[in-house]
């Protein structure tokens, strides 16, 4: 009896523990083929205000593609919170879509996995050549010196959206052009009982996008020239501190925004609770939340002094979406055709209009649809004062590590704890230690 019971205890222990901690995966090799030339699977990122809107925008275009080529495209719109994980899982298992959207800042990281078809000159020739695309967009498609991992699809830039009515009520005649003006205007707005500036304090990616620009304005880089993480240099520390100080010291970002991560700051702005919002290509989103286009203005993101330009006058990242072909595709030719279709002038106009983004294709960009005042600001920013995030293999890890550090600093500021140069440096130190050792 004793041994049976011991065996039973052992068996129960094993099975419970196994059930509790199972983990797994698969493995894959092999390249692309043309085994199933009549179908394609396409993962689209969530560009519209909802997944349903995306389907409504994309489905008619996919029908057009079917008419032209006879290829049926199975569409899946993947939410941003899942997209990177889904891509990693697809890469690991070899079971993925044929064509997919990626955030352009992930290009170098995903390029390092070797999961995507490299866009060599020969491949580019199949879709009309590399010259069709604007340089700033091509600058965010992978590490320099390597064939791009993806092709630019939509381009976006950050801008300052401001509520005209709140500005008028506070007696502000024009949008702020420097951070000092943001703080001064913010005080006037708060005196009228409105919130000054919205932010997504707990959204890791938003934090990165803003601190990247602040770092540029302080003449600092997050990575050394040979690609090593360098998060604790004085310029970066000052940059992160300046951003968090908008809440901690200047009090223009309300403390409640420290926990925002689901685009609540956009809703706040659309509802007229907040006077200013720094966002990328927000028009379509604001419209879907019921804010009319005439009630807000769009201005460039402020700089330290002077006007936006290159170097320390940078005021946006090169934001955007790239289109990649999964190397394991069973329909290589069809995938290439689909990329050609999506980057054609006609489709670029339709899609970028629907998503209030800017076409990265030169000829499409010249269309009058992209010369509205709103688009003019975005287009001008992309052309003259936007910079690409570091194109290094560790980019994705950098986003998470530093973005989390900024989230923690916002949490400190919200709780009323002091945000000092030392505390900023300590958080960034922690972030740097999480980066892969080289």
């Amino acid at each position: 009896m004793r041994s049976i019971r011991a065996a039973a205890v052992g068996a129960v222990t094993m099975s419970l523990a196994l059930a509790a901690t199972a983990c797994g995966g698969g493995s894959s090799t092999g390249g692309g083929s043309n085994d199933s030339p009549k179908t394609l699977t396409y993962w689209a990122s969530n560009q519209g205000a909802s997944i349903a809107i995306d389907k409504k925008v994309l489905q008619p275009e996919l029908e057009k593609f079917k008419k032209q080529t006879g290829i049926t495209v199975k569409l899946e719109v993947v939410p941003w919170s899942d997209l990177l994980n889904r891509i990693l899982t697809a890469t690991t298992s070899g079971q993925g879509p044929d064509v997919l959207n990626i955030g352009n800042t992930w290009s170098a990281s995903l390029q390092a996995t070797g999961a995507f078809l490299p866009w060599s000159t020969a491949n580019f020739a199949k879709i009309g050549g590399k010259d069709r695309f604007v340089d700033s967009a091509l600058g965010s498609t992978g590490a320099t010196g390597k064939d791009p991992a993806a092709v630019p699809l939509y381009s976006m830039a950050y801008a300052l959206y401001y509520n005209k009515q709140i500005f008028a009520d506070a007696g502000i005649s024009q949008p702020p052009a420097t951070w000092a003006e943001v703080v001064a205007d913010g005080k006037k707005i708060e005196a009228k009982g409105k919130q000054a500036l919205g932010a997504e304090g707990a959204n890791v990616s938003e934090n990165i996008h803003h601190t990247f620009v602040f770092a540029k304005q302080h003449g600092a880089e997050f990575f050394t020239a040979d690609g090593k993480a360098d998060f604790t240099n004085d310029g970066v520390v000052a940059a992160v501190k300046q951003y968090v100080d908008l809440m901690a010291k200047d009090k223009v970002i309300p403390v409640g925004n420290a926990e925002y991560a689901q685009n609540q700051s956009v809703s706040d702005f659309a509802k007229g609770k907040t006077a200013m919002l720094m966002w990328q290509s927000a028009s379509a989103n604001l419209k879907s939340q019921g804010m009319s286009e005439s009630s807000y203005g769009i201005a460039p993101i402020p700089v330290q002094s002077g006007s936006p330009g290159t170097g320390v006058q940078t005021n946006s990242m090169v934001a955007g979406i790239n289109l990649a072909v999964f190397k394991n595709t069973n329909n290589l030719d069809g995938s290439t055709k689909f990329v050609k279709f999506m980057t054609s002038d006609a489709e670029q106009k339709i899609l970028n209009t629907a998503y209030s983004s800017i076409p990265p294709v030169k000829t499409a960009q010249e269309d009058t649809a992209f010369n509205t005042p709103a688009n003019a600001v975005l287009k001008n920013t992309l052309a003259t004062s936007a910079a690409a995030l570091p194109q290094v293999a560790d980019e994705s890890q950098f986003e998470t590590a530093v973005g989390t550090a900024v989230k923690n600093l916002f949490a400190d500021a919200a709780a009323g704890r002091a945000v000092t140069t030392a505390s900023v440096k300590a958080e960034l130190e922690k972030a740097q230690q999480q980066m892969p050792a080289k």
Partner: protein
């Protein structure tokens, strides 16, 4: 069942052995389908996970695992080097998880047991209350937890509205989803979600206690507390043994609650180990280290479970005598 060995018609040793094999073999045969599925669903991925933990499986190799270099115990060394950042944060996360698990299991068990005992008496609305109490357990995790996220919001959340605006308990609205309070937010949500299970199991266990025991005890003059202490709790012992173990394992490994509550970057105060490991592998794209941490977690849970079962079953055996 057993044949009398002195029976003259008893089969020879050869036949007896065949019968014995058949007799012993039958249960194993019946278990075979379950065993095969268990192997497929749990053991094979486990073994792959263990193999992964000895590899340097970073973004450069995930597309073709075979090319990932072996690192020996490298991933484990990184995980348990508590003076270095990775090990230090893992240890911190481990302690947070231990504290969280102990508190959560204690509250779930206490709430479940007390409620189950009170619900033993037949009164009007008992069925309704039972159903009501089980709702948190029956709700889909995501729907339940996301509702808590809304309730815990700083600006518009119900919790702050009640605590601050109406009852004036706090001097200013508190943050629940970031900073130190996040630990309590997590604990509250988890206990809310977990106690109905304890309630359900204890309620089932109570049905098996003979009424006569209580009647005899009350004739002997035992009060309610004494009845609970001398009859209810000892009778529930085998039920509690399994219940506490299951609650412990579920709580220690819970991923959904913290992930829905805090997203991919959990606040330090509520950095549970499952999310921590997820972050170590998926967010930093280092699946080797993540697997090594998983294996360490598995070993820890194996040891705890084994020790727990040995101690509790030994105690029960001596109590049976």
């Amino acid at each position: 069942m057993r044949k009398n060995p002195s029976d003259p018609a008893a089969p020879g040793p050869r036949r007896r052995r065949g019968e014995r094999i058949r007799r012993i073999g039958l249960p194993y045969l019946l278990l075979l389908p379950a065993l095969i599925l268990e192997l497929l669903v749990h053991l094979v991925p486990m073994v792959i996970g263990i193999v992964m933990s000895f590899k340097e499986l970073t973004q450069f190799y995930i597309r073709d695992w075979g090319t990932a270099p072996w690192t020996g115990f490298g991933n484990y060394k990184v995980s348990v080097d508590f003076s270095a950042p990775v090990g230090k944060s893992l240890l911190h996360s481990f302690f947070v998880t231990v504290a969280f698990t102990l508190l959560s299991v204690a509250f779930c068990w206490l709430l479940g047991t007390v409620t189950a005992i009170y619900m033993q008496d037949n009164f009007r609305g008992r069925g309704f209350l039972r159903a009501l109490f089980l709702i948190p357990y029956a709700l889909p995790v995501y729907a339940a937890v996301i509702t808590w996220v809304f309730m815990f919001q700083h600006d518009n959340g119900l919790v702050n509205h009640v605590l601050h605006d109406q009852l004036h308990i706090t001097s200013k609205p508190s943050f629940w989803l970031i900073g130190d309070n996040s630990f309590y937010a997590l604990l509250i949500v988890h206990v809310w979600k977990g106690w109905p299970f304890a309630f359900l199991i204890v309620m089932a266990g109570l049905q098996n206690i003979p009424k006569e025991l209580y009647e005899a005890a009350s004739i002997d003059g035992a009060g309610m507390l004494q009845q609970i202490r001398r009859i209810t709790l000892p009778s529930l012992r085998p039920v509690n043994q399994v219940l506490v173990l299951v609650l412990f394992l579920w709580t220690f490994n819970d991923f959904n609650t913290p992930y829905v509550l805090f997203g991919r970057a959990a606040p330090e105060a509520a950095d549970l180990i499952s999310v921590h490991i997820y972050q170590a592998s998926f967010v930093t794209w280092n699946f080797g280290t993540g697997s090594a941490m998983s294996v360490l977690l598995l070993l820890f849970l194996l040891v705890v479970t084994g020790v727990y079962l040995v101690i509790t079953s030994r105690g029960r055996r001596s109590a049976d005598v």
